[in-house]
Symmetry: C2
Subunit: 360 residues, 2 copies
């Protein structure tokens, strides 16, 4: 029933849907439900330590025998920059005063380990069918070990240039991440958000540029989007925001409430939460010091100084300082279970594809 | 053969393609060729005086009996702001010096008449089948006269809110203009480009919000895009950049050369050329004082101070100060005639739609 089976056959899945790995917003439960439904479930490991990564993959392996994806960040860690951190803290000082917080205390340091030897050991032991990366690819030695373990390697491209680079390094499929996508942009050969292309323009240009299967991502939240992705030449889709509405999603009630009220024109790319451009629903901090700020410290340290504000505000039911990751099609989401959502997306897409060939 | 005939039946055309009206870049010749091929040709009137509008429509009527679209801007003219103009001129002074131009001379004033009584008289006389507007709609009295003449009315929405507003005012169809689109964004209820949605996210949300047919625009340059637009629920497409490559396009050789070298990541929204956000291929002035500048005077006056720079530079074969309008899918364009392009786009789309329903 699918017009292009390259991704399905490559990975060994039934439905052309990769659940986007969403660090902090999903764990093993969502991944299991997607894989069991026939899509590709993803476990985001960016904010987990090695022991937790091992435990979560273990749980997934107990609950499904279907292919899974394990996702890692492979950013270059930020160099310490106390001057920049101090300036950022000073910029936020008024908020500390407003919330009755002591701005003179040491801020929690945010450090995210990129994919490394310890994580690679786990991959070699547990051999997830797919390992995907965000922000490019790890160093060649690590990448070779992942591939030698028999794992398929995926990564995201936000430009044709990035797609060609990933293919050259041996990626087995490429996620073309359009401007609409929620969360962090995977950009790694450019930091210019002004020239990032929308899904509609990016996908066919990436398809024309590379030989490996292309997965469309960004703005896809229903069967129409999956059908459109195939029309543009993609071999499948990666869907994130739609899964944030499910009971398996780990987002806060505040985030959930904001998602329910989402509109097409209420998200923006912002670097205030982590230092890297990521799409969030607009909130107070984005309005007042962003959405993009030249003062934000490098990824991922920007979030350190926001953490106490976020904690205090959230305790009072206020999301002024919280990242509210969402793509531009969030309003298309609905609250059903992860497995049902996966099957429903595929069912809608199949009907849509059939209808497209039938004259009205 | 088309999965949705609402736009075709509404306008009385055979192919689901509206050639985007591109002020300064196309005249009657392109419109005639598109309409004769079965699409909807468009005459952009924004920079023409009333006599020229009448003459151009006259030429079109002599050469085709098929439906045509006549397009007008309906912006609020900028209030004179000598202080802002002077600051803008000062910002550009270094370029005047570099090019050996006298920065103390009076800059050419740029004034674009929005749709008015004189233009409405022409519409009433010549009754184009479709009248489309950019930047919202004209005042109710003018709009009522256009509708009373039997013309269908179209306008562009960049958000769901704008689409609902246009439908409420009586638009017969709505162009959902995604972020990818080249040239001026039609935005009129917001001036925030950070929250503008890509075509992939915008189209289905607009389709769900209004009852009138929706035309997808932005990033569509081949048959894949037309098929994808139908998948998302659109009843047709509006295509601009692909037509800039044709011999009927009025763009400069410099613009044409830049288009040939276009890439997915080489355009940005900029206000430096006119004061309003519009998508252009990146060039020197966009890099150095943009792409968005808070100093740019209101639409359309920003272009006045750039005009002498543009003229001098272009004479030397340099496009540093020229608007190079293009959408994000410009690299998909190829240089064939307007009529052939129209037929080829439709043919490709038809094949694509058929292929989508056939399992691979």
């Amino acid at each position: 029933m699918w017009p292009n089976r390259r991704l399905l056959d490559l990975i060994g899945i039934e439905l052309p849907i990769i659940q986007a790995p969403m660090a902090g917003s999903n764990g093993s439960a969502m991944a299991i439900a997607v894989s069991e439904a026939g899509g590709l479930g993803s476990l985001p490991c960016a904010i987990l330590d090695a022991a937790k990564v091992r435990a979560e993959i273990g749980i997934i392996r107990q609950r499904t025998t279907k292919p899974i994806n394990v996702n890692f960040f492979c950013h270059t860690p930020a160099k310490p920059d106390p001057e920049r951190d101090a300036a950022w803290k000073a910029k936020l000082k008024g908020y500390y005063t407003e919330l009755g917080l002591d701005a003179s205390v040491t801020m929690p340091a945010i450090s995210l380990a990129p994919f490394d030897d310890a994580l690679c050991n786990i991959v070699e032991d547990l051999k997830p069918e797919v390992v995907s990366f965000h922000f490019g690819l790890p160093a060649q030695a690590l990448l070779s070990r992942v591939k030698a373990s028999g794992c398929l390697v995926l990564s995201s491209a936000t430009t044709v240039e990035e797609a060609r680079w990933l293919e050259g390094k041996g990626c087995d499929a490429i996620v073309a991440q359009g401007y609409e996508a929620g969360g962090h942009r995977g950009m790694f050969l450019t930091d210019n958000i002004a020239t990032q292309a929308g899904t509609f323009a990016l996908v066919p240009q990436v398809v024309d540029a590379v030989k490996v299967p292309v997965v469309a991502a960004g703005g896809i939240a229903d069967g129409r989007g999956i059908a459109a992705a195939f029309a543009l030449g993609a071999a499948g889709t990666q869907i994130g925001t739609a899964y944030l509405f499910t009971p398996e999603s780990l987002i806060t009630d505040l985030h959930r409430a904001e998602l329910r009220a989402a509109r097409d024109d209420r998200t923006a790319l912002t670097n205030v939460f982590t230092g890297r451009p990521a799409r969030s629903l607009m909130n107070r901090i984005m309005h007042e010091i962003g959405p993009m700020s030249e003062a934000a410290p490098s990824f991922p340290t920007a979030g350190g100084a926001l953490a106490p504000l976020k904690k205090k505000a959230e305790a009072a039911g206020v999301s002024d300082f919280s990242s509210l990751w969402a793509g531009q099609a969030a309003s298309l989401g609905s609250e059903i279970g992860t497995g049902d959502l996966t099957r429903q997306l595929a069912e809608e897409a199949g009907q849509r594809l059939k209808a497209l060939a039938s004259p009205s």
